[in-house]
Symmetry: C2
Subunit: 456 residues, 2 copies
């Protein structure tokens, strides 16, 4: 949790000055202006530079200064390239000076042998700290926690706790929560800096420790962590193993990144785009990300078309039926996506945990019954007025009615089933649901149409 | 920013004890167990009770204790009902004891005359503080900020700053950032509690104040606030007027709620469900939220159907064409939604701000060209092999090719245009795009089909 509090107001002026000083190789002026910036602004500036200029910066800044910048550098896949520009010793030292959770984020993007080589050059203690964190599985609490926290034992005074805090402040990610450990290094409680401040120096820590603390297990999903921090309004959450040993902490800033990541993820899956973290760089890059989905959907769509082709005879007898295929399939897709979205969000926010699944499905069936009835009646009346054909109206109306009920249930059932089988319900359910519902709707539509055929 | 750090581990046992004590009207036991809980857990427990039991709780807890619970109570529209259960004096006092931003959140859900009546009963100072915040427009920085912050002037020592902090700690939302004001109450800088802790007691505040601070204007969008807090990893952000007077602060916990709200909002709009904050309570409630969209989409779909009906003659001549309508319309919808999602997320995360809009559209056109070419070729070959009909394959292939290009451009262009005209691009663009693309795809498909008709 970085805390220098700088400003962007004089941003433009400053940027020119920085570029000017870089061009003139004026180290002193560059350092003076650059180090005034908030690390996030340093990183934003750095990101826009070309390779040659970036390489100059590695000579102007110490590995430690570069580490602060790097902690704030948001790149998807570019770390490898940037690190390759640096002298390996410089890179290794920089990584060792980063907050350990950020260092792990960066190393996770690299090839395994490269990670090993950096860890070998690096200061042993730092390397060990990183190694301990590297083996946690992605998306778990362990993978986003840091070991840079402040802990104390219960049998001391506020005064001595403040002393420890001052000493550890430069290295710790947050000093606002201090974790109290028992003799076996088990998590016994937590105390906030606020508590320390408002109590007398001679108060015993044990008297003011809060021993009913909320923690997460190291293997818990990162979404679970985000939810807890959000619900309880914490600044950090302790991570423990199954014996309640304190392994690390997760701070609110890391959780915000998780929240954004997960929201983008759910959103992009609903839209059938994989991995939509950044604006696409080139048409080829964008096409590469979207084509897999489009090709799958293309073949699923051809499956639907082959099903529809079986009703060619029906279409030959009453071509007007063809005009309503998109309407019915579209409505099935719409209502299915609505039900899906409600369920996927419900799973994501945890609102669904307490609910009976059967009750949910029944409720969705009820919803489909209501929306189906109303839309069915509306469409029947509208087609009757518009085309003067009551049978066509009734045919389309009944199809809409049946389709909406079935599609709504399918939209709720499929993500629930996926969740049950530990598949991320957001994965392919957007397009998947739509295709299932296309098929359902076409079957319903043409089956009913065949019954009505004699009226045309 | 609430900071009691309790636990949920003994949650179930505790819950039974609480219900037991409520049933036996054992005030003492209830209070003892209940007040041990984290306010979030208090609120979760409270939410599940029936009205009669809730009313009992109002007698067991003081307005101040109830205020802490209420700050953690997440309800969409239910505040009005819950407040109506309380004695008005109790309710007014409770509201006055809440953090002012949370009080404003609650009051914003009520009828105007009810708000006035509570403010009239309430302690005058608290009422004034609330009134000052009530007039800010929804979704602005002003509407989510709090005035419960700590400020000091620059010409004092760390020791006296710590003294002020201790005094203000019980009321302030955060004591981790202290804002430094000049003689005209203008924001001059900021200092973190971490800075105070690590410096000597005799250090002058002016020496350690950070005067390059990041702030937001009171009228700024709440998304902008969330982005800044997230990018800079702040715990709070000061809100100023155009003369740089400090009006309030926004803390990270409020911003997390904003992030979740905005993410849910974007997601639900893509799925054409309005207002998807909670799992729907009843089929009728769900149907009421989804029907408006479904009915709009129904009539848009009928518009598309009436367009398709114009090609009835074409369908009569070659009924097999009807089978591919869903495929082509579906692919147009898919690619349009992909482009839309990328642009909407880009606008939401601010990544798009720096980019040229024309470049973006051209890039999307390029993407459509690539995906269109590949999908077009695939579909032509597949249909040729499957149906043995090269002309049908070429017809569908060319249609897919043209459709994908146009639909991709439309998917990017429409949200950009909406953003330009200050309409939230997420509003109706999901279904809107799909319908536009249905129409485009049907026009393209049948126009090309008519050219090929002599081959069937």
């Amino acid at each position: 949790m970085e805390e220098a509090l700088n400003e962007k107001a004089t941003h433009h002026m400053n940027q020119e000055l920085l570029i000017h000083s870089l061009q003139n190789e004026d180290i002193q002026m560059f350092r003076e202006e650059f180090l005034k910036l908030h690390p996030y602004d340093q990183a934003s500036f750095f990101k826009e530079l070309d390779e040659e200029t970036r390489e100059r910066i590695y000579y102007y800044l110490s590995p430690e200064e570069m580490a602060t910048l790097f902690e704030n550098l948001e790149m998807d896949e570019g770390y490898q390239d940037v690190l390759a520009e640096m002298n390996p010793n410089y890179a290794a030292e920089m990584i060792s000076k980063m907050y350990v959770d950020d260092a792990v984020d960066v190393l996770n993007e690299l090839e395994k042998d490269q990670v090993v080589s950096y860890l070998t050059i690096m200061d042993e203690e730092a390397a060990q700290e990183i190694k301990d964190l590297l083996h946690y599985e992605e998306y778990t609490a362990g993978s986003i926690m840091t070991t840079d926290f402040v802990s104390i034992s219960a049998n001391q005074t506020v005064r001595s706790a403040m002393y420890i805090l001052k000493k550890e402040a430069p290295k710790a990610e947050t000093i606002y929560y201090i974790y109290v450990l028992d003799d076996d290094k088990r998590l016994a409680g937590v105390i906030s800096l606020r508590d320390l401040i408002v109590n007398d120096d001679d108060t015993m820590i044990s008297e003011i420790t809060n021993d009913r603390i909320v923690s997460v297990s190291v293997g818990d999903d990162q979404e679970e962590v985000a939810r807890k921090i959000k619900d309880y309004n914490f600044l950090a959450l302790p991570v423990v193993d199954f014996q309640n040993h304190l392994l690390g902490i997760i701070t609110v800033d890391d959780v915000m990144d998780v929240m954004e990541e997960e929201a983008s993820d759910d959103y992009s899956k609903l839209a059938a785009v994989s991995d939509m973290d950044t604006i696409d760089r080139s048409p080829l890059y964008a096409a590469k990300k979207r084509l897999p989905w489009l090709i799958i959907l293309l073949y699923l769509g051809m499956g639907t078309a082959s099903l529809a082709a079986r009703f060619e005879e029906t279409l030959e007898k009453a071509a007007i039926l063809g005009a309503f295929i998109t309407l019915i399939a579209g409505m099935a897709g719409n209502t299915g996506t609505q039900a899906l979205a409600v369920v996927v969000r419900g799973i994501a926010t945890g609102d669904l945990e307490k609910e009976s699944k059967l009750k949910l499905i029944l409720r969705e069936a009820g919803t489909g019954l209501i929306t189906g009835t109303i839309c069915g009646i509306l469409v029947t009346i509208t087609i009757f007025i518009w085309k003067g054909n009551l049978f066509l109206g009734i045919l389309v109306g009944i199809s809409i009615f049946c389709t909406l009920i079935v599609a709504t249930i399918a939209g709720a059932f499929i993500p629930l089933a996926m969740h049950k089988f530990k598949i991320d319900p957001a994965v392919a359910s957007g397009p998947f649901i739509t295709t299932i519902n296309d098929i359902i709707s076409i079957l319903i539509y043409f089956s009913i149409a065949n019954m009505f055929l004699s009226f045309f």
